[in-house]
Structure formats: C-alpha cells, structure tokens
C-alpha cells in the first residue's frame, strides 16, 4: 500500500458535476484536476461511467465518497467497498477520500454526514474499520473533517487530536475542509485558527473550499455560493501549514457555469502567494428559510434531459 507522502500534489481542482460534463468533454478546459463523487459512478452502467472513463484519460481524478460510513456501528459495507475498488481499478484515481462520519445505522441511511462522538472507544472502532477499508482498497484512505452543528457530551478529545491519532494509528491521510473548520468552529463558538494550528497538517493530502450560508447566530455548510472572506483567510493559513496541499472547490447547489466555478477556484492563487487580503465580511444571508447543509440534490441526474418519445 502506498504511503500518503508519495501521493501527488495536484494544485487546484474542481468538483466534477453532471451539469458540466458536456463542456469538459467538448472543450477540455485547463483545470488541474477533478474530484468525482464516488457514488455517482461506482454503481453506474450508464453515461456517468462512460464520462468518468473519458475524463480520467485527460485529467487527474480523485474519488470522494459520501456513503462509506466509516464511523457507523453497522457492519462495514463490503459490497460498497468492492464496487468502489472496481471503479478505482478502472479509472486509477490519485486517491480515495470520504468523511470522518457515519451516515446511518440499523441498516438505514440518512444520506447525511453525521458527527462522531470523539472518544477513545470510537477512535478504536473507526481505526479498525479504516484499516479494513484500506486493505480492501489497497491504498490509504483520506478522511475529511465534516461540518457539524452539535457536539456530544461524552467526547473526550478535540477533532484535530482525534484525526491526528487516527492517522498515526492507521496511516490514513487527511482532507482538511477549510470551510467545514469555519462552520463547525463558528457554531461551537471555538477558534478556527486554533483548530487549523492544532490540526496534523503534515498528514493533509487535500483541502476543500466551499461557500456557506451565514445566519448570524450560526452558519450552514451549503456549498451553494462563493467562498466567504473569512474562509479565504483561513485557507491562507492552511495552505502554508500544509505546505501546499492539493486544493479543490466544491459547489453543489445553484451550480453556476464551469467558467464561474473555475474563476472562483483561481481566487485561491492570491492566498497561496500570501498576497490575497480578504475584507472582513460580517454580513448575514437574510431571514429566509435555511438552506440544506451538505446538499445532495446535485447527485441525482436530471434524466428528463436524456429522454425522448418516438411516434407510434
């Protein structure tokens, strides 16, 4: 199994979204790499599988999962892992990532990224499952800090410490989602800079950037708008501390054109050189209904677009 130190530095990349397939295949824009949602492709016998095969011929690809449920107390889903392995063997991603979370229990799936109690017991549980998953996938797993809106009373350690120990015990790599750091810390009333400074940045293989919705009293991880200034500032720190980990922009709701997504991604360059300076922004996003955290609607294809009716 490869070590995370051997994984490539890919620069700046974008989340691969259905609405951009045609443009990517047709124009092959100069985008460094793409991150594909594993579940959109691993079960596919249709166009998504053909698309990712073709894109993987021209760009580095990373597979990012939302349903491995590495923290669940249900048995590890071996069928899921076998399907993921088959896809990985086919498209040869630079790495495979998922989240430090659980998505369901008792055979059910919430389709959300739910937080773990951060205890010795849960660490041992997750570490054992990470080892098993890595054996099956034959590569290190890269795990992301999720955005969270609650913390469990029984937790005995902070998330950076938990992830450091998990990485030390299993050899897994880490995906530092800078927006998630901001969201979780804001909601918990803790310091995001202290979080990044405590994070095992030497284990970070990849970073995420995304937009969030600010409600004044709390923030929601919506991935449906530009990155906010306070997250850019945090990214500048994270970029330095990780030594320039591969960085990816996620945009999952109200997805704009590929060009607009790319332009938002390229804003990162200013913060990578240290020149960027984000004006503080205390604005809130109105009193309207809250958007969904971790939206998944973009994962469901609009099949009406690929349907025709012939005359009798």
């Amino acid at each position: 199994m490869a070590a995370i130190a051997d994984l490539p530095r890919l620069g700046l990349g974008l989340g691969l979204r259905n609405v951009h397939f045609e443009e990517i295949l047709r124009d092959r824009p100069r985008i460094g790499w793409f991150e594909a949602i594993s579940e959109n492709f691993m079960d596919s016998g249709g166009r998504p599988r053909a698309v990712i095969r073709e894109i993987a011929e021209h760009y580095p690809i990373v597979l990012h999962g939302v349903s491995l449920s590495i923290g669940s107390t249900d048995p590890l889903n071996l069928d899921y892992l076998a399907r993921l392995r088959r896809l990985a063997d086919e498209i040869r991603p630079a790495w495979i990532s998922d989240h430090l979370c659980w998505t369901g229990v008792m055979g059910l799936n919430s389709h959300d990224l739910l937080p773990m109690p951060l205890t010795e017991e849960s660490l041992a549980h997750v570490a054992a499952r990470v080892r098993r998953a890595q054996d099956i996938l034959d590569r290190p797993l890269i795990l992301e800090n999720p955005s969270s809106y609650l913390r469990f009373a029984q937790s005995t350690m902070e998330e950076p410490e938990y992830l450091r120990r998990l990485s030390d015990e299993t050899g897994c790599g880490l995906l530092l989602d800078v927006n998630n750091v901001y969201v979780s810390c804001f909601n918990a009333g803790t310091d995001p800079v202290a979080y990044v400074e405590a994070f095992p940045c030497e284990r970070v293989v990849q970073m995420h950037l995304a937009g969030h919705e600010h409600h004044g009293s709390h923030v929601i991880d919506t991935h449906d708008r530009p990155v906010r200034p306070e997250v850019w500032d945090l990214f500048r720190l994270a970029w330095t501390r990780t030594g320039g980990a591969s960085t990816l922009l996620e945009w999952d709701g109200n997805i704009p054109s590929l060009g607009e997504c790319h332009a938002e991604l390229l804003k990162a360059e200013a913060y990578m050189t240290g020149a960027g300076a984000a004006a503080p922004d205390a604005s809130v996003d109105g009193d309207g209904p809250e958007s969904i955290s971790n939206p998944v609607g973009f994962l469901v294809p609009r099949v009406m677009d690929s349907n025709l009716m012939e005359p009798a």
Partner: protein, 300 residues
C-alpha cells in the same frame, strides 16, 4: 466493542427519522451546550435537513409526478413515504425504488372497491411507475460500445438488449411525462390502456408506444428470451397460428423498426426445450369472433 458509540448513533438516527422521539432530557444529557448554536437547534438542523434532502432528490426522480400533484402535495407524500420506508441503500438512486408500490399500498381510497376508486390516483401511480422505469434506465448496464443486431441477424439469434423495459399502463402516462418535459402543462389524460417499450441507445432512453399485441410479443420475449417464444405467446393470445404471427412480424415492418431502434442484440440460437414459460402473462386471450388482431393492432 463500541456500545457507547452504537447507543449514540441509534439515538441520533431515531431523532432524525422521528424528530418527536427526541426527548428534551436526552438532548440535554447527550449534547454539549454552550456554543453559539444551542444543542436542540443544532440537532434540528440535522432533522430538517434529513427530510429536505430526500425530498429534493425525490423531486429530481419524479419530476412529472411532482408537476401533476404540485410540490406541496408531492412533498407530503414523500414525507409519509420516508417515514414508512426510510432509505436503506448507500445510493440516492435507490430512494424512489419502492415509491410506486408504496403509493399503491397507501392510496387514500384503498378501502373502496376497484370500481369506486378515484381515477386520478390510478393515474398518479401509473405515472410514478413509468418515471421509476425511466430513471432506472438512465444508469443500467446497457449495450453502448457493443454491437447491436442487424437486419441480417436471423430471428433465432435475436435477443432483447440489456437496457430494455416494457410498460403497460391504464393511462397514457408516457405522453403526459413528455409533455411536462417539453414545458407544457398537460391535462390529466382519460383512462385508457397504453403500452410502451423503453430502450436506451447512445445513453438516450427512448419510449416507443406499442399496440397490445406488440406488447404481448415483447413481454414474452423479455420473459423467455426468443422471437420464437414471443411469437408463440402472441399466437395463443390472438388465436392465430404461430407461423402467421412470424409472417406478420417480418412483413409489417416491426422487425426492422425495432432493429433500427436498438431493441435487439445478436445472441446464440436457443435450444428447443418446448417450454416457453410465458403462461403467466396477465393479459386476456383473444376472444373468438372479435376482429382479428395483427402485430400492428386490431385489423379492420
């Protein structure tokens, strides 16, 4: 052993799918207080997101049904559905799999006799069935990148391609769906049988209206594999000789049209085992004395 983790996860998952089950005392005991976001408010974000996330995906999977019912009523059905049938699969594509059957089992007039039941509910269930079929066709294993049957392929070698399905409906739901797709606001169609083939080529799914005899032929072929058995089933259904059906299928143009639409691949010739396995088809046999049907429909 991870008993404490399991206990927390069971509690939180139950709190998501049945928000009223989360007692305030449990929330206070299990969650940390003191952040900007109160513990109950934080849990509420997960509870609200659980349903809204699933409803958004269901609207993507059943856009025509959502159009027909209107989003508020559609969302109400989805809320009841996910309460009864919470998601089990890792893939969101599976969310709608049990929805048409659930609608049938939970229709508001289910205690009435079939003659007393509301027609519009039958239509909605048929539309849900069709939409699920269309959605499933999108990502199934198909024949793309591999050869299809050609005109010269002998009948003995014709097999239905893997991404092929059939539907028999009580309303013209495919026409309704495609009118919604075109951005129209179609009226609910009157009751009347409608048959269709769904076939995917080059990652485009086509719906092709069928006559009842065509449906019988293809349903038997789908079930038992060969043209010969399809023709035998149709011959029994129509009260005709099997050779007449074979002549009709070749001469009426169906064979060529269906090859052109990519219905068939070239397989191996079947072994004659004498059992076509098609007697379970739930269609009425042709009654003696009625006009004589052909592959195209009912002859004048």
């Amino acid at each position: 052993m991870s008993a404490d983790v399991a206990s927390v996860q069971r509690w939180m998952h139950e709190a998501l799918i049945s928000p009223r089950s989360a007692a305030r005392a449990d929330i206070d005991a299990r969650l940390i207080h003191g952040g900007r976001l109160a513990a109950a408010a934080g849990l509420a974000i997960y509870q609200r997101g659980y349903f809204l996330r699933i409803a958004a995906c269901m609207r993507e999977q059943f856009p025509a049904l959502c159009h027909a019912l209107g989003q508020p009523l559609f969302d109400d059905f989805v809320a009841d559905y996910v309460r009864d049938k919470p998601p089990e699969s890792h893939t969101l594509y599976d969310l709608g799999r049990r929805f048409p059957a659930w609608l049938e089992e939970n229709r508001p007039d289910r205690d009435l006799s079939s003659g007393e039941r509301e027609s519009w509910i039958d239509f909605m269930i048929d539309l849900a069935r069709y939409e699920r079929q269309v959605f499933a066709m999108f990502d199934r294993e198909g024949q793309e990148g591999r050869p299809f049957a050609a005109t010269a392929t002998p009948d003995e070698h014709l097999r239905l391609q893997p991404c092929f399905d059939l539907g028999a409906y009580g309303f013209a739901v495919p026409s309704y769906y495609h009118a919604v797709r075109r951005g129209e606001a179609p009226s609910l169609p009157p009751r009347g049988p409608a048959y269709a083939a769904l076939v995917r080529t080059d990652y485009v799914t086509r719906t092709i209206p069928l006559t009842q005899p065509q449906y019988v032929f293809l349903a038997a072929m789908k079930q038992s594999g060969t043209v010969e058995r399809g023709a035998a089933a149709l011959a029994r259904h129509l009260g005709m000789d099997s050779s007449e059906v074979r002549d009709s299928w070749s001469s009426s143009g169906e064979r060529q049209r269906w090859i052109d639409w990519g219905f068939f691949v070239a397989g191996l010739a079947a072994r004659p085992d004498g059992n076509d396995g098609i007697r379970s088809l739930e269609l009425q046999d042709h009654a003696p004395g009625r006009p004589r049907p052909t592959m195209k429909g009912v002859s004048p």
